[in-house]
């Protein structure tokens, strides 16, 4: 067991990125991500990290500058949130198309309006299909551990795609937790120096980001889909190697007391930890409830999710973002799609929780789990339950 210290998750995440020996950072502040790039500026300013630190004038520039630095072969990191992620939108699609293995930390936050700085998943649900590898961390330790995993996955020759580490803004980013730091030797053993497969080099000229006329655009996009879909084994390898390095096991899909459960709740992010306590409380009453939590979100771990759900008859899905104009919100759409071809489709109950930083209590989670048990006992599924909304 390494040394544990009480540290804010954002600071730990920044330390982790620095210890990955990142060579280039583009930085623009946005709540609740700002502490990450602020802390990295201290690493550079204090002379502890030899990296190009580029303060830019917007997030559109942050991701564009990151692309440029990655294109010349630098290990590149940036971080953002909410409106900042939205401002990056048009560039986000280009990064994986150009196969630039940037790693970006996203402190998940609501999108305006009304103006809100608080946590939900509106920002990242709007960027679902950008073509990056996407992973969710539930707490500060996972943020620290998964940054090097992201670099390892992204920079693998078989992948060479950017990745996003999602974690909840404020609830995780600003929480001071006991976090076990890896040693620099562990970082260096886990993450070899970046060996770019493509880069801008005056000694070997090439053109990046070229036009794709109708005769070739389609083939390029088809290739991009295949590369991302085929990256799952690399993620598994990165998680297995992480376990060998520091002893913590990460899976593509995490479960909690799911094996013998009568009903299962699908939940993403830090609220899964609240849900675990609710599961424990209901288990103490003899109620067989459990959780399924995706760790890897893109590429979507279809087989692992189906295995995790097994033949459970009732599945609850928690959403933390609206899909306006649709009766099913983003995660519910994905889980419904998952089961469409399954031989035994469960009944699916949908819950909207924690929008714009609204508190979700253990009691709320117990109500949700009890509702799933009611459905198993014959109660109607009903429409989306907007949990906690005043009415």
């Amino acid at each position: 067991m390494g040394k544990r210290k009480g540290v804010e998750s954002s600071i730990a995440l920044a330390d982790s990125a620095a210890m990955c020996r990142i060579e280039a950072i583009s930085a623009y502040p946005i709540t609740p991500q700002t502490h990450i790039v602020e802390h990295l500026s201290e690493w550079v300013n204090d002379g502890h990290l030899e990296a190009e630190f580029v303060p830019v004038e917007s997030e559109h520039s942050a991701i564009s500058a990151a692309m440029g630095m990655s294109a010349v072969g630098a290990r590149t990191f940036t971080a953002t949130s909410s409106q900042g992620l939205a401002l990056m939108h048009e560039i986000l699609f280009i990064v994986p198309a150009m196969r630039l293995p940037i790693v970006m930390a996203v402190a998940n936050r609501s999108l305006s309006g009304p103006i809100s700085i608080w946590n939900d998943h509106s920002d990242i649900m709007a960027e679902r299909d950008i073509g990056w590898v996407q992973i969710f961390a539930e707490n500060g330790q996972e943020c620290f551990d998964l940054i090097p995993a992201c670099f390892r996955i992204s920079e693998d020759k078989r992948v060479h795609l950017p990745s996003i580490l999602n974690f909840d803004g404020f609830v995780v980013s600003h929480m001071i937790e006991p976090i076990e730091y890896w040693t620099q030797e562990q970082f260096d053993a886990y993450l070899p120096p970046y060996d770019p497969q493509i880069k801008l080099d005056v000694r070997k000229p090439s053109a990046m980001g070229v036009v794709g006329i109708p005769e070739i655009y389609y083939e390029a996009r088809r290739m991009q889909q295949e590369v991302l879909m085929q990256s799952t084994p690399v993620v598994l390898e990165a998680f297995a190697e992480l376990e060998k390095t520091v002893g913590r096991k990460y899976n593509l899909v995490e479960t909690y007391k799911a094996d013998d459960a009568d009903v299962l709740l699908f939940i993403v992010g830090s609220l899964a930890e609240t849900a675990m306590t609710a599961v424990d409380n209901l288990r103490a009453q003899g109620k067989k409830v459990g959780l399924v939590r995706p760790r890897l979100w893109r590429p979507f771990p279809t087989q692992e999710l189906l295995a995790a759900f097994g033949n459970v008859p009732v599945v609850g899905v928690c959403d933390r973002a609206m899909a306006f104009g649709m009766e099913h919100h983003p995660m519910a759409q994905e889980i419904r799609t998952l089961f469409y071809d399954a031989p035994n489709r469960p009944q699916i109950c949908e819950f909207m929780i924690g929008l714009g930083g609204r508190d979700v209590t253990i009691g709320d989670m117990e109500n949700i789990l009890n509702r799933l048990l009611d459905v198993k006992n014959g109660a109607p599924v009903g429409p989306v339950d907007y949990v906690g909304v005043r009415k």
């Binding site: 150009m98 630039l100 060479h160 493509i198 053109a207 083939e219 290739m223």
Partner: protein, 97 residues
């Protein structure tokens, strides 16, 4: 020269669609959708080169006698050369349908 990029199967797309071969764009014959072609009347041409200077495709070049012609692999028939020609020696001729 390597395979024409426009004939690649999706499995053959190079990483990031990076183009590392110089002048590979020459394989892309972009004059195919031209509806008119420029014709030079040599008896009025003073070989000044304004047509070549203004050609946005840089596809107007001289022959061994110093007279100008468009490379029809790339000429899109925009008629800028005809518009700019001082002597009016360039006429646009419709392509056969």
């Amino acid at each position: 020269m390597a395979k024409n990029p426009l004939e690649l199967k999706w499995q053959e797309i190079p990483m990031g669609f990076v183009h590392s071969e110089a002048q590979s764009s020459l394989q892309n014959h972009t004059g195919s959708w031209r509806s008119e072609r420029p014709i030079w009347a040599e008896e009025h041409c003073i070989r000044c080169g304004v047509c070549a200077l203004f050609c946005p495709e840089a596809c107007v070049r001289t022959d061994e006698r110093g007279y100008f012609h468009a490379d029809l692999d790339y000429c899109k028939g925009c008629s800028i050369c005809a518009h700019e020609c001082w002597t009016g020696c360039i006429k646009m001729k419709p392509e056969e349908a």
